[in-house]
Structures are given as structure tokens and as C-alpha cells.
Symmetry: C2
């Protein structure tokens, strides 16, 4: 702590950000102090601008600054397949691959009883609303292979299967370039379970 109240307040603001510890927060606060008034104005404007302009796409709940996100606005996307992801960054990751032509649904979180995040906190009502007409044939649950990701995937599968919708999930296995001796047991056992014929 610097003994300068307004510097400590700024450092605390940085320390609230994910993955920023006390030491780093203090370093960032000092760095901002060295900014010109114009630089400070640019930074604060960037924050308020982003918050003001960016909202959730009314269809897929992804973040966007337009009335519909680019994927939902694209008439060429296949509306019969919805890929359900945790957050906006997962959409970016899938869009980089370019092979996926369906649409998305962004949950904005994962079920986590430990952190008090219940299914109600996710955008599941909005997902169910999208399934009301018969357009959607398949929902790919693409949450991460973590405890919360798996729990959320399971919850969604149980929610949607009774509706007669095909619910699938990403394949688990050895990552590209992964050497067998470095794979953990769960990855190996899943890679075994999911084994396929050659030239399938």
C-alpha cells in the first residue's frame, strides 16, 4: 500500500479484474499515473464506450454492437444447428476454425454450485425459446471439459433431450500434437472410449 489514498483505490480497481494480483494491480496503478490526461481520457472513454455500445444479441445472446450479431445476421448460416458455449470468447474460437456453419447460443457462465451460479443465471430460457418452432434439429453442447463445463453440459442434455432434439457434445481425446506420455488418465480413457475405425 502506497499511503496515497487515491492510488490505493485505483490499485484496488485493478485487483478486482480476473487474474490480477495485488502486486500487479499496484504496478498497473503506477503506470496509469504516468499517463497524460489525454491517455487517461482515452482509457476511461474506451471503458464507458464499450459498456454503452455492447449488448447481447437478442437471438444468440452473444456480445455485439449491432442489432443482431454478425452470425445471426448472416443468412448463410445453418439455423438448424445451435452450438451452445460458455461465453463470447468461445464463439471467437469456433469462428476462427471456420468449418462450423451453424449458429451459437452463449450461456454467459457455467453452472457452479460452489460459486452460487445456478441454471437460472444462464441464458437457458432464451435457449428454450429458440427451440419452440421446429427449425433446430441439433444442439451441440460445447462447454469446456472442466467440472463446471461437464455439469452444465449434463444439465442441458437432460433439459433438451425430452423435447426430441438431438443433443451432442464435442469429442474428447488427445489434442493435436499431444504426446501420449503427457496425456492424463482421464484424457486417455476418453480417447479410448471415443475410438473410431480408420477411414470412417
Amino acid at each position: 500500500m502506497s499511503g496515497i489514498e487515491s492510488l490505493n483505490v485505483l490499485a484496488e480497481q485493478f485487483a478486482r479484474l480476473p487474474g490480477i494480483g495485488r502486486k500487479t494491480a499496484q504496478r498497473l496503478a503506477y503506470a496509469v499515473l504516468a499517463y497524460s490526461d489525454e491517455d487517461i481520457a482515452a482509457f476511461t472513454r474506451a471503458m464507458t464506450d464499450a459498456k454503452e455500445k455492447i449488448h447481447r444479441c437478442p437471438t444468440c445472446q452473444n456480445l455485439t454492437d449491432r442489432s443482431l450479431c454478425p452470425v445471426c445476421a448472416d443468412a448463410g448460416r445453418d439455423r438448424s444447428v445451435i452450438c451452445v458455449v460458455e461465453d463470447a470468447r468461445a464463439v471467437l474460437a469456433f469462428e476462427k476454425v471456420r468449418s462450423y456453419r451453424g449458429v451459437y447460443h452463449v450461456l454467459h457462465g457455467l453452472i457452479s454450485p460452489m460459486s452460487g451460479i445456478t441454471p437460472d443465471a444462464l441464458t437457458l430460457h432464451e435457449l428454450l425459446a429458440r427451440l419452440e418452432d421446429d427449425t433446430v434439429k441439433e444442439v451441440i453442447v460445447a462447454t469446456g471439459a472442466t467440472t463446471e463445463g461437464e455439469a452444465t453440459a449434463m444439465y442441458i442434455a437432460r433439459l433438451l433431450t425430452p423435447l426430441g432434439i438431438k443433443v451432442t457434445r464435442l469429442a474428447h481425446g488427445i489434442p493435436f500434437g499431444g504426446e501420449l506420455e503427457y496425456a492424463d488418465e482421464i484424457t486417455l480413457s476418453r480417447a479410448l472410449e471415443g475410438r473410431r475405425h480408420f477411414e470412417e
Copy 2:
């Protein structure tokens, strides 16, 4: 890049901060988007407040929100010894030790020809001004043991020695708790050079 202009602008602002890479900057920008309007206002206010209230102490150039910094304002400090440091964080580090009773001078940088930082960019004029009466007997150059730190220390020593002021520097050696086998060669050779008699 998210494809959302205002989000990219915000991520770029975070990426300008020291030690924050592109990936981290994007993560921080997304985190700020999840903030409430009140949280955003608190963050931007902390930035402008800190910038507005904090200035350099007219004597030692350390950062402060008062007319004089607490060290310079303290009549109990020994004004005959000035400890010259790179930045405000170094002052904090010394003040934690509590054994130092002199005053400071904050350079706000180190000479670095590679980064285009010349001696003019530091607060050397202000340091020289403090040496004009005969109060100061010793200047301890406490810059870090890096290339820039050493170059700056050397420069200051050459600048002040002709003025008849005792210029000293911190001892180099094995850090407390440091095991010999992990000390690099330069540290070891300096520890040897600086060796002392027992019970000196």
C-alpha cells in the same frame, strides 16, 4: 480480435499497460463488459481521481497527494542523506525496512539509450538543486542492479563526485536466504569483491 470495434479499443487500452499481453488484455476487456454501470463509473473515477490528486513532491519528486510527501514533511528525517531511487515503488520498499532515516530523491526512470531515455528525462536538475546549500553530505545511489540501473548510478556518481559530495551505493552480494549454488557468476564475483571481516 472480437470483431466488435469498441471491445477491441478497450482491449488495446489494457494491452498498453506494462506486462499485459494481448490475450490478457482481451480477457480484462470482457471482464469490464460484465461490470455494472456503477462499477464502470467507480473504475473510471478511480483513474481520473488518482491522476488529478497525485503529483510530484516539489522536494524529492516522489508521488504524493499532499503539498509535501510524508517523508519530506517529517521534521525527524535526516536531510543530510539522500537516497536516490528509480521510482515511487522503490521508496515504498525502503520505507518498509524502517531502518533508513534519511530522505529520498525519485528519478522517475533510468538512463536507457536503447529506449531513448537520456539523463534529461530524469529529475537530475531537481537533485542538483537540492545540493546547492551544504545540507546534503551523502547521496546513496540505490538504483537496481540492472544494466540501466548501473549506467544511471555511474552517471550520477560522475555528476556529483566533483561537487565534493560523498556518493555511495548499495552493497551487492548474496541475497538473504540465497543458496550459493543458485547465485549467478556476477552476484558471486560481487559478493567476493565486497567481502568483509567478521565482526567488522
